[in-house]
Amino acid sequence: MDAAKNCRKLKAIDEAIGMIKKGSRVLIGGFGNAGDPKKLIEGLCISGTDELVVMSNDLGSPNEGLGKLLSNNQVRGLIGTYYNWNPEVAMAYNEGKIFVELVPQGTFAEAVRAAGVGIPAFYTLSGVGTEIAKGKEEKTFGEKTYLLQEALKADVALIKAHKADVLGNLVYYKTARNFNPVMAMAADLVIAEVDELVPGGELDPESIVTPHIFVDVLVLGGGDR
């Protein structure tokens, strides 16, 4: 394939995964079963790299997708929003095996965005007057009180896109987009799994969601269906 030959960012999955160090903070895209980088997650499980802090919306199901990282004891902690689909999270937490930091989903998305665009913290209404407000700074603007949320930055982001061109410009597919574009902005090393690699110039510049400057490494996935 010509596009693959001309793509300097393209790597094999094991080579890309080999760049992730033990103990890394790793942002991983996806919402439920849509838009998670399945091949990269599989590769990360095979690598056995552990002590990871996984920053994602949810953690899939037990022993499936992202859930497999926890079943494999590769996780030191979780930062995310919704673990109802994976009862192993509560078990591991109650046994003291992992830490869990729950963040409201909108605050999570914005905290990742903030990290990507150079904003160290922001104020939000979400969580005021609840358990998650404990220990957080509050400030009143007008008639309302807000919570201070710090940006969430990571060492690595593993994201999923539909198509990349050889430079690494990305477009997405329906609700498989979710957190992927924002996570692409918020890590030192960004590895994108894509269904398809196309020649430079083939993607309409008006349609590009993630510009290539955010993407360090591309890998080819299987093409989710």
């Binding site: 439920g32 987009r177 992927n180 924002v182």
Partner: protein
């Protein structure tokens, strides 16, 4: 005696009543459970734009052939309606936080008379996660709770004070159950509609919260269509 209603009727009654709350062109987010059913009962002359927090503006009903990468926040398969848009999670919650969503419909474990809501942490079960609920109820302009009136064991869910960890304080504007509709304004709760065959005494027995009663008190909208 409260009327005995089967589960399907309970769910459809609540969903049908909630569906009458929207104006033409409203942007609405539906939570999981009974709220998901609301889209099936939107009156024909009203066009509601459904937003899902995982990135759709203008979501349509389930397709004949499901696309696994096109789901609503509750996991329901979706279609795109003409004019719909696909967006990322950060922009989606930007819409919510920024007050661009007219109404959110959610389930609840407990609601109290001042509009506090508890709907994310079940007692004795740690760490399930709040998902987008805290953002939705603080960002949407109108918060509607669609739920069964009592717990499965018959305990009150509409309380003087919530006992479970809160999702947010003072956010709920309307509560719709199979027996009644309550409106909460400025920290005060009022019974505004009552279902057929439900007496004020019956209702009080399963509602711990203190509330005033609208006069006149209409029959719950939509029950005549059952």
């Amino acid at each position: 005696m409260l009327p005995e209603l089967n589960e399907d009727l309970v769910r459809s009654r609540v969903a049908r009543r909630v569906a009458k709350e929207f104006g033409d062109g409203d942007v609405v987010n539906l939570g999981i459970g009974i709220p998901t059913l609301v889209s099936d009962y939107i009156p024909e002359n009203i066009r509601v734009i459904f937003q899902t927090e995982n990135g759709v503006i203008g979501a349509g009903p389930a397709p004949e052939k499901p696309d696994l990468r096109f789901i609503g926040a509750g996991g329901r398969h979706l279609t795109l309606l003409p004019g719909s848009a696909l967006i990322s999670s950060d922009l989606s919650f930007g819409l919510i936080r920024g007050g661009h969503v007219d109404a959110t419909v959610l389930g609840a474990l407990e609601v109290n008379q001042e509009g506090d809501l508890a709907n994310w942490m079940v007692p004795g079960k740690m760490v399930p996660g709040m998902g987008g609920a805290m953002d939705l109820v603080t960002g949407a302009r109108h918060v509607i709770i669609a739920m069964t009136h009592t717990t499965k064991k018959g305990g009150a869910k509409i309380l003087k004070k919530c006992t479970l960890p809160l999702t947010a304080k003072g956010v709920v504007g309307l509560i719709v159950t199979e027996y009644a509709v309550f409106r909460i304004r400025e920290g005060k709760m009022e019974l505004v509609e009552i279902a057929p065959d439900v007496t004020l005494e019956d209702l009080k027995a399963v509602t711990e919260a203190e509330y005033t009663v609208a006069d006149p008190l209409p029959i719950m909208q939509g029950t005549e269509e059952e």
